[in-house]
């Protein structure tokens, strides 16, 4: 095996300056652009060849802003504009805007909508009031994860927001389980979705919406006019900062984009790419499907017990297995690891306690906020306590890493 193959197999983040020469290599990571760009395609499910890339309604805006585009979840998406570090810092310091139109959006209606959602997801959707949202998970019967999602209860229907890369899979999964009076519609392609995130997100929203966004609580939503466009605004996000997500008909994408940037001028509002989205979420220990959770992991070992309601009277798909997992305690846990030297951990790197491998890294990066290497990874339960000293094999060299309590970044403005 040559170096390139070995390196590729050892982790999707690894590439080297030679890759350009190896079209075989490029096709093996389903990447057809220039060589270093494939790194963001971390999710197995997102590394799929699509005959033609889809474009979000903001594609023109990204191009105009000089974004570097990569294929992600079937869409041509901006991975970065200025650079990961400045974009990351922009969101932590003031406010940034993410095009998240690639996310899957599915409407569920009908008399039995609630019981259907409750059967399909791990969290308890019955407690939702109108305009309330909750984070949740879909499981397979063996408790492996189909996807993670946000469930919105709206006036006359539910809206499920799923990972873009899993949109088709989830849609099929739901269709297979439809029962009773339930109507389901995938509205992904009709709707544009922007995330406006950062400590100054609220004043930006204030200027552009017909309602006072300060009245919207964390994981609550409201319908409002945004520059005359009927939109759904929710106080949700994936960054650890205060922020909103705005859903509206895609025809108005350019108009809303322009107004948001105008309103955020004094805060030096900027567009943010997938690269910084990834470093921001990692600093909060927010799971990324395809990295930290997938069909081989269950929500309890992933630390998603807080959205796994085994006390739901009707149960849900996967609840029997999860009950057993809970009784026996999961054999491994997804933990936060902070490097003790300057090494940068990457997905698939091995984690050691002494000479014994006790786990592997699922997400890793240099943390722009902490300025050190951080990782999420599964380790055997007894090595998962905060304060435990472990080591990560960084391309043949062991670097010390300490298990720390989440989140890595503790100064987020999230409400």
């Amino acid at each position: 095996m040559n170096t390139d193959e070995r390196r590729f197999l050892s982790g999707p983040y690894l590439c080297n300056l030679r890759n350009l020469r190896f079209s075989r290599f490029l096709s093996s990571c389903f990447y057809s652009g220039s060589w270093a760009r494939f790194w963001f395609l971390t999710s197995r499910d997102s590394r799929i060849v699509y005959p033609s890339m889809l474009k979000t309604p903001f594609y023109g805006k990204h191009e105009a802003a000089g974004a570097r585009m990569v294929p992600f979840a079937g869409y041509d998406m901006p991975v970065q504009f200025k650079g990961i570090i400045p974009e990351h810092n922009r969101v932590r310091k003031t406010v940034g805007v993410f095009d998240v139109s690639h996310m899957g959006r599915i409407e569920i209606r009908g008399r039995d909508a609630l019981s259907f959602i409750n059967r399909m997801t791990t969290n308890n959707a019955s407690i939702l009031e109108i305009n309330q949202a909750q984070y949740s998970v879909f499981c397979y019967p063996d408790a492996g994860i189909v996807d993670d999602l946000v469930v919105y209860r709206l006036e006359d229907h539910y809206l499920l927001v799923v990972n873009g890369a899993n949109n088709d899979k989830v849609t099929k999964w739901l269709e297979e389980h439809l029962a009773g009076n339930v109507e389901m519609k995938n509205v992904t392609e009709d709707i544009a979705q922007l995330a406006i995130q950062g400590p100054e997100a609220e004043p930006v929203m204030q200027r552009i919406s017909s309602i006072d966004p300060s009245g919207i609580g964390f994981y609550w939503a409201a319908t409002a006019d945004v520059v005359g466009v009927e939109s759904l605004i929710s106080r949700t996000g994936y960054t650890g900062e205060d922020g909103f997500e705005v859903y509206f008909p895609k025809e108005y994408a350019d108009k809303v984009w322009d107004v948001v940037f105008e309103a955020g001028k004094e805060f030096e509002i900027e567009p943010i790419g997938l690269g910084a989205r990834d470093t921001l979420r990692m600093e909060m220990k927010y799971c990324l499907y395809g990295n930290d959770i997938d069909e081989t992991t269950n929500p309890l070992e992933a630390g998603l017990g807080f959205v796994t309601r085994l006390d739901k009277p009707e149960g849900f798909i996967g609840s029997d297995v999860l009950r057993k997992v809970k009784e026996e305690k999961p054999g491994r846990r997804l933990v936060c690891l902070e490097m003790q030297d300057r090494a940068i951990p990457r997905p698939s790197y091995r984690i050691y306690a002494g000479e014994t491998q006790v786990g592997h890294v699922t997400s890793g990066t240099m943390s722009p906020s902490l300025r050190k290497g951080i990782a999420l990874g599964y380790v055997k339960r007894k090595h998962g306590k905060a304060g435990t000293e472990l080591a990560i094999d960084i391309r043949g060299q062991r670097s010390p890493a300490r298990v720390v309590k989440p989140p890595f970044y503790k100064h987020g403005s999230r409400k």
Binding site: T3, Y13, L14, C15, N16, L17, R18, L20, R21, S32, G33, S34, W35, A36, R37, W39, F40, Q80, G83, I84, I85, G275, D278, T279, R342, I344, R346, T365, M366, P368, R395
Partner: protein
């Protein structure tokens, strides 16, 4: 457009070489730094060692990717740019100047003939830049 100075030689793996006497200074090109972006640090752990053309002599760690640096020529790695240990961003801001990475004392000067001149390297970059 990526900068490609006229007075340097290039490799297909996006290193540049500047030869002065028997010493070759090595770095990565403007195209390479832009593709990597956000370089955190550079490590050359082969100083004092003999290397062969095309063998890895160090690694470049960016926020979200790590790549090898390959020796464009054979010889002894005599020096590494120590300032990049803590400030890899110099490779981003000045890839052909302060962001130089290593110096190699040439043992096979003839190998220089195999390296790319600016024009063919520019062609290579052009092909890689757009898909």
């Amino acid at each position: 457009m990526a900068k490609i100075p006229e007075d340097l030689k290039y490799t297909k793996t996006h290193e540049w070489v500047k030869v002065e006497g028997e010493i070759a200074t090595v770095g990565i090109t403007d195209f390479a730094q832009a593709e990597l972006s956000d370089i955190v640090y550079v490590e050359v752990n082969t100083v004092g060692q003999q290397t062969e053309q095309d063998k890895p002599i160090g690694t470049i760690e960016a926020v979200k990717a790590v790549v090898d640096l390959f020796a464009p020529v054979s010889g002894e790695v005599i020096e590494a740019n120590e300032s990049l240990k803590g400030a890899g961003a110099k490779v981003n801001t000045d890839p052909y100047g302060e962001g130089w990475i290593a110096r190699i004392k040439l043992s096979k000067p003839k190998e220089l003939d195999k390296l790319l001149d600016p024009a063919p390297y520019a062609e290579l970059v052009k092909k890689s830049e757009h898909h």
